[in-house]
Amino acid sequence: MASSHGTPPVFNNKVISWIDHRLPIFSYIEKEYHTFPTPRNFNYFWNFGAIATVMLVLMIATGIVLATNYTPHVLMAFDAVERIDRDVPQGWLIRDLHMNGASFFFIAVYIHIFRGMYYGSYKAPRELLWILGVVIFLLMMATAFMGYVLPWGQMSFWGATVITNLFSAIPVVGESIVTWLWGGFAVDNPTLNRFFALHYLLPFIIVAVVALHVVALHVHGSNNPTGIDVKGPQDTVPFHPYYTMKDGFGVICFLIVFAGFVFFAPDYLGHPDNYIPANPMVTPAHIVPEWYFLPFYAILRAIPDKLGGVLAMFGAIAVLFVLPWLDTSRVRSCTFRPIYKWFMMLLVVDVIVLGICGSKPPEGFWVPLSQLATLYYFAHFLVLLPILGKIERPLPLPPSIADSVLKKKAV
């Protein structure tokens, strides 16, 4: 339905008309971002796709400026970053935007993923849309990891050492793969150089996958808080101005919180050890990744076996790829799933607990807790989700989106 909406636009401007006749970019924008019929009942969770897009653009823009002032060499990288901070005009601003931007990109994407899970946006016919989203998430993790290595502080170096060493868990070829990743026999200048090259490359691949994500989105249109399909024009509003304005408001609110960190606590989300230049001879007492990796780091450490830990960590993301087929319920939105709603909340608590476990030294009480939380994480996807769909009795669905909106208003 969404792909055949509206009449072809007529452009009054002759230049636009001439171009559009040959390369229909203006028709495309008109169709996909202006008249595009969008469910009228979005809540503010639907802002986070736009917010994530803004953060991606911000990261690329600030990143290119940083790259023009950075030197990927083990003897110069740390000082180059400090030089950006101290001597490049407004360099501190660009760097603070970029390093906090990574965190806020992840915040936006985590909320976006939660939105997709809570409202069942991954279900048919949006499975590929969801899978492309998980691909973006994976690419973001790789990009962020390599970006964190570039300032060449202690956490950069030791984080790179620990994470690249994960691949040595692979039987037989593991050690060779690690040597290949490093470009030598240790994390050293070749590693830094390739990480810089890949850190510059991957964001553009993310842009390409985001484009596919948006194409897939525009085939069947967005899901909505009721999870029921659009049944007619009374259920939708044109994307512009309704959602351009609502997204604009959401983006600005998000940027206010972001600016709070950038300007008043730029190092709060970082680790002090990364202001110590990398030293291969001194291991920090406590190697921790950036906060957005902590839940996965906790899963890695929860398994008392190197290969098992690595498999569990990658499995924690791999399971997301098959989520559309693990969920057996025919109802999308948690609003109408009285039991699953609470398990979804419990999953959020579980991931936060994992994050806290990941930030603590793996000793005492934190070890069994992270093992329990890891077990629950997988049980949620592999046991609860398939079973609940069968036994849960969903609440009655509203007849249409318009109906749900108007009823809410009447109350």
Partner: protein
């Protein structure tokens, strides 16, 4: 020459990973107290550096710390941020010479210029380590950002020495303190190679401030906080403007959104 080092790195990486995976890493620094939180002039969203304190702190750094600790990311010209004039900076460095090459390309010292970075006390890291029992004293350029509790830790460390005869027998036993070791309340592991650097009247302040150990520690911490982040005041000023602008824009966007949606609710 490279191979043993590479192997050591591979091994230590593998050990770190194995330890992480099996949950056996123990934090060596047991029983270290958190340094008490002090009130700093540069705290809070409107905090600024106390210029007088930072200038006194520069004096402490120059007369005491600089004997061992470099400040390699700060240039002499940066001192104008602390309220010194260019001429004052020039006169401060008039007796300092820095290594360079002469016109024939031979190593030769020349007088320092404001654009030079602070002169390092040792020619290189190996020389610094050799002169300090095998471990080079850390550079202080970003030290305040590089330690947990930042300025409170630096101040705590500088004032946290406990003389051997004031230690309890349990402390001596637990941390294996010898008579000529230095014990510091806030240093991880407590035993620190650095002798107590400050003492009452270690420097003589030109502005008449009484140079107690605590005063010197507070002043040099203020100076090092500035050295770690010279643009902090600019950052906060910009931040106030950006957030005020964004708040106004958010209000406007909200109003527009309300108007646009008026007929749909």
């Amino acid at each position: 020459m490279r191979k043993p080092f590479a192997r050591k790195l591979l091994v230590s990486g593998a050990i770190a990973l194995a330890a992480l995976a099996t949950g056996t890493v123990a934090i060596a620094a047991g029983g270290v107290e958190h340094p008490p939180a002090r009130k700093w002039h540069f705290q809070g969203p409107f905090g600024t550096y106390d210029r007088a304190a930072a200038q006194r702190g520069y004096q402490v750094y120059q007369e005491v710390c600089a004997a061992c600790h470099s400040l390699s990311l700060v240039a002499y010209r940066n001192l104008t941020d602390l309220g010194l004039t260019e001429n004052q900076v020039k006169s401060l460095i008039k007796d300092i010479t820095v290594p360079d090459l002469n016109d024939e390309g031979a190593p030769a010292d020349r007088p320092a210029r404001p654009a030079d970075r602070f002169k390092k006390p040792f020619a290189n890291e190996a020389a610094a380590a050799a002169a300090n029992n095998g471990k080079a004293p850390p550079d202080l350029s970003v030290i305040v950002k590089a330690r947990e509790y930042g300025p409170d830790y630096i101040y705590g460390l500088l004032t946290g020495y406990v003389p051997y005869d004031k230690l309890t027998p349990e402390q001596i036993k637990e941390f294996d303190v010898k008579k000529d070791d230095y014990f510091n309340k806030y240093f991880p592991g407590h035993k620190i190679a650095m002798a107590p650097p400050l003492a009452d009247d270690k420097v003589t302040y030109a502005d008449g401030t009484k140079a107690t150990t605590a005063q010197e520690a507070a002043d040099v911490t203020e100076f090092l906080a500035w050295a770690s982040e010279p643009h902090m005041e600019d950052r906060k000023r910009t931040g106030v403007r950006v957030i005020l602008f964004l708040l106004a824009l958010a209000g406007l966007m909200y109003a527009v959104k309300r108007v646009v949606w008026a007929d749909k609710h």
